[in-house]
């Protein structure tokens, strides 16, 4: 029962082919990041947001925080997109990892609600006490972006 690495969800890859997700900054879908304790067991087979083992505490609301999409772009032959760093302010929480999921997917071809995009493993419990809890996404380049298609 623990986080075991970062995963791009297999269902997400399939959903890309169905046109389920739109990462446009101004008109795209609403993606959220939910935080979890180390009791959560997420893998590449995770398909949807769940409330099980989600963290609770001051400054955090179930479901997590809405992310700001960064318009998809390309670098060489690699397409990529990113999210703006997310901060939970005045928060007293402890989290070991997170799920990014889509709250407004195109449901023409899928039936699942809140489909997941990626599983994030923080590597260790991270805690804030009456402070800021910030998730810093990696450099959005062809090698490091959180979502990249090479």
């Amino acid at each position: 029962m623990a986080f075991n690495g970062n995963f791009m969800c297999t269902s997400f890859k399939k959903e890309l082919l169905y046109g389920v997700h739109d990462f446009d900054n101004s008109s795209g879908d609403t993606f959220k990041i939910a935080l979890y304790t180390n009791s959560a067991t997420f893998t590449a087979a995770t398909t949807a947001y769940t409330t099980g083992n989600e963290v609770s505490g001051t400054g955090y609301t179930a479901g997590g925080g809405a992310l700001t999409n960064v318009d998809p772009t390309s670098s060489g032959t690699t397409a990529l997109t990113d999210f703006v760093d997310e901060t939970f302010s005045n928060a007293t929480i402890t989290a070991r990892g997170a799920l990014i999921y889509n709250t407004t997917p195109n449901t023409t071809s899928i039936t699942v609600s809140n489909p997941t995009v990626v599983v994030l493993d923080f590597g260790a419990d991270k805690a804030s006490t009456s402070g800021d809890f910030t998730i810093v996404f990696p450099t959005p380049d062809a090698s490091n972006a959180i979502i990249r298609i090479a």
């Binding site: 302010s89 805690a127 910030t134």
Partner: protein, 97 residues
């Protein structure tokens, strides 16, 4: 390094920065901001790397300065808003922060 075309880089790492009983300082945010603006390749020519690192450090200082300016300016706005609402003692506490 090669890795699957549609998957996360094996070296992928999301960072989490936290604080206890305070917010982030302008210096901490400036470092993060500079990292977003400037990425320096480990495989770049050493001379170019050194130049890039020097430029990045300069950017950090500039960002720190303007973040301090923004905070001071916002605090003035907050001070006046609280003063206008009839709470001069609280306004003074904000001003002294």
């Amino acid at each position: 390094m090669s890795f699957p075309a549609l998957d996360m880089n094996p070296d992928f790492k999301v960072e989490v920065h936290t604080t206890h009983n305070r917010g982030f300082t302008p210096e901490e945010i400036a470092e993060r901001c500079a990292t977003k603006i400037i990425s320096i390749s480990d495989s770049a020519n050493p001379a170019i790397q050194a130049q890039a690192h020097a430029f990045r450090q300069h950017m950090v200082k500039v960002l720190e300065f303007y973040m301090h300016e923004a905070i001071k300016s916002d605090r003035t706005t907050v001070y006046n808003a609280i003063l206008d609402s009839g709470n001069p003692e609280l306004a003074e506490l904000i001003r002294r922060l």
